[in-house]
């Protein structure tokens, strides 16, 4: 490479040469971060939605699954009534010692005004699921059509590698099933039987759980995840698991 080429290459790094698309992308991330700041009550959750999805292109253009099932939590609506947890227990025969969904309580005594917030969790049905990679017998797998992480119970050897690998603590060993159990967005108990939403979504009195097809522009989840006014984030984006469960405030 001669000097002329070297300087020419340098010039392409200047701001003037950045394509419009990249600029728009950058601006959007900036707006989302501003949204986080405006949200105020968020403690140290600063991740942005673009990091949560498989790639930033997938956010705008294509989704790997159809329907691409996803859930959004409008967290500040949660009153910790536990109805979702109970409905899940009943619908999916979840034993006392386990859970598929749980409501965590976050407390920050140094926060201004509001010092606690409830945070529901469940399986994030990641696009890059660590649990699926580690399972030696393909007992857990990502459904090719819906993206739901499912279990084939009879293949589970109970090595618990999936439990160790899950960044969201979403799995437990079910003694009755003799297999690891987890949220499947009520696929087995409801969706496969023609119902449209999981039990936890149906019973929530404050409608904080929003479920739907992230690839459908008419769905509510699509509208929430793709708006710019309010921050939307995912849990633990740094793990690279690329979850499909999003959080926002009302």
């Amino acid at each position: 490479m001669n000097w002329k080429e070297f300087f020419k290459n340098l010039r392409t790094e200047e701001q003037g040469c950045v394509p419009d698309e990249t600029k728009r992308e950058f601006l959007k991330i900036g707006l989302i971060i501003t949204g986080v700041a405006a949200g105020g009550s968020l403690l140290n959750v600063v991740s942005v939605v673009a990091e949560g999805l498989a790639t930033s292109e997938e956010l705008h253009k294509e989704y790997p699954y159809k329907p691409h099932y996803s859930m959004v939590f409008i967290v500040d609506r949660c009153i910790n009534c536990q109805l979702c947890v109970e409905a899940c227990r009943e619908t999916n025969n979840v034993p006392e010692y386990g859970w598929r969904t749980k409501i965590l309580e976050r407390v920050d005594t140094k926060a201004v005004d509001q010092q606690s917030q409830f945070m529901p969790i469940l399986c994030n049905h990641c696009n890059n699921p660590p649990c699926v990679r580690v399972c030696p017998t393909k007992a857990t797998y990502k459904d090719k059509q819906t993206g739901i992480i499912k279990m084939t119970d009879f293949k589970c050897i109970g090595c618990k590698a999936c439990m160790v690998s899950c960044p969201y603590d979403a799995r437990y060993y079910n003694e009755e099933k003799r297999a690891v159990d987890k949220c499947d967005f009520c696929w087995e108990s409801r969706l496969s039987k023609g119902m449209e939403i999981p039990a936890c979504v149906e019973v929530c009195p404050t409608e904080l759980r929003i479920f739907g097809d992230l690839s459908d522009p008419n769905s509510e989840v699509y509208k929430i995840v793709h708006q710019m006014g309010k921050a939307v984030w995912v849990l633990k984006p740094e793990t690279g698991a690329k979850p499909n469960v999003f959080y926002t405030i009302g």
Binding site: Y97, K102, R106, V134, K155, I157, G158, S165, Y172, E238
Partner: protein, 409 residues
């Protein structure tokens, strides 16, 4: 034709000869010292008792009797598995320097190492048998539904294959077919090194677990295997000769001298690896720092400083130099202490990786930032039983294979 008849006639042992052989074998087996039989009986008894604990755990359900739970699903049984299979791999690596790559000075330790490698690998499998919830399903679905992206699948498959290779290798050594034994020795070595690096990757490739994530553990386990292998060779060779009331001959003295030096080198390498693992971890992500701080300053500080560093690394290193690699009593003491230290290294590498709560950064009140794990009596008994099984099999091996004497070939 005539030749064939002759050879087949040679192969047939008459009934009397067979009975005589057995009687001789039995007589020889019963000719050991009192101490030998007491040790054999004691280890056998411990194996029996701990098997009862294991079977009981299986019957009532692991979650009721083990200290593991949803957030910390892997406890000291996984550590025990790692402990034994790493020793097995180490024995293979060190002994193959002699009987595969032809370094003559290490040939005398070969036969015992191959035998003990089978024993420790089998012990590892037994320990994991009492940890995996559905071990019988594993045998079926590992074959019918393999997941090639899973390190556990690779590790399990490679270790199973290596157990077959090892058994062939040992049988061929017994039959004095050294050329073929060498080929199987090489196959064992390759499959085991691949298996152990996959075992490391079981932890190293978990991108949600900062303490484990990265290439460190696969490399560390290979380095650690070399050290564990040397430890086991010195420990068991010394004991073997003690039990048989024999004195080391010159070639064996030289072999142990070489193993001692290799061990010192591997300990030095390990000390460096541990040091830089800690140093880099202390400036890593918050989860990593929390785990490392708990390890070296928190509840696990005794495990780290006393067992891992003092017993496992520094004291053996120091003792080796004091012994000048020639005082075998001191070298044996070093190996005994190191074994204890190594076990704690395995406990820590497995447990510390899980102690930081999944949601610590969200300040949740549902889980403490640092989770606790305490092994239960059942888990401890299974580990003690596994150690006793190794001792038991070692004793039987010394007797049956008459001190594993190898002629230099």
């Amino acid at each position: 034709m005539e030749k064939k008849n002759n050879s087949s006639a040679e192969g047939i042992i008459s009934k009397e000869e067979f009975t005589q052989n057995w009687l001789q074998f039995l007589k020889e087996f019963l000719s050991g010292s009192k101490g030998f039989y007491i040790l054999l009986l004691l280890s056998g008894l411990i194996v029996l008792i701990s098997t009862m604990f294991g079977v009981n755990a299986m019957y009532v359900g692991y979650s009721h009797v083990y200290g593991t739970y949803r957030e910390i699903p892997w406890g000291i049984l996984i550590s025990g598995y790692v402990f034994f299979v790493v020793i097995s791999t180490g024995l293979t690596i060190i002994s193959s320097i002699g009987h595969v790559f032809g370094v003559k000075s290490l040939i005398p330790i070969g036969k015992r190492s191959v035998y003990l490698s089978i024993v420790t690998l089998f012990t590892g499998f037994m320990v994991i048998f009492f940890d995996i919830e559905n071990p019988f399903r594993m045998a079926i679905w590992n074959v019918l539904s393999p997941n090639l992206t899973s390190n556990i699948w690779w590790m399990g498959t490679l270790y199973s294959i290596s157990l077959i290779f090892l058994t062939f290798e040992f049988l061929l050594i017994l039959l004095r077919k050294y050329r073929y034994a060498m080929i199987f020795g090489l196959l064992t070595l390759i499959s085991k090194v691949l298996a152990i690096s996959n075992l490391g990757a079981v932890f190293g490739m978990l991108y949600g677990r900062d303490f484990w994530y990265g290439p460190f553990i696969p490399i560390y386990l290979v380095a650690s295997a070399i050290s564990s292998g040397c430890t086991a060779i010195i420990f068991f060779t010394y004991l073997g000769y003690r039990i048989r009331n024999e004195r080391f001959d010159k070639p064996m003295e030289l072999a142990l001298h070489v193993v001692g030096k290799l061990w010192a080198l591997s300990l030095a390498i390990l000390i460096f690896m541990v040091f830089w693992n800690i140093m880099t971890g202390l400036v890593g992500s918050e989860a990593q720092r929390l785990a490392i701080r708990e390890w070296i300053f928190g509840k696990y500080a005794a495990n780290f400083w006393f067992f891992e560093i003092f017993l496992g690394l520094i004291t053996p290193f120091f003792l080796l130099f004091v012994s000048k690699f020639r005082n075998f009593n001191q070298m044996f003491a070093a190996s005994l202490l190191s074994f204890i230290g190594i076990f704690f290294m395995r406990v820590d590498v497995v447990v510390i990786g899980q102690i930081v709560s999944h949601f610590f950064e969200y300040k949740v009140t549902d889980f403490p930032v640092i989770l606790t794990y305490k092994p239960t009596l059942h888990e401890i008994m299974i580990i003690i039983g596994a150690c006793a099984f190794c001792i038991f099999s070692f004793l039987i091996g010394e007797k049956v294979f008459k001190g594993h004497h190898t002629e230099i070939h």
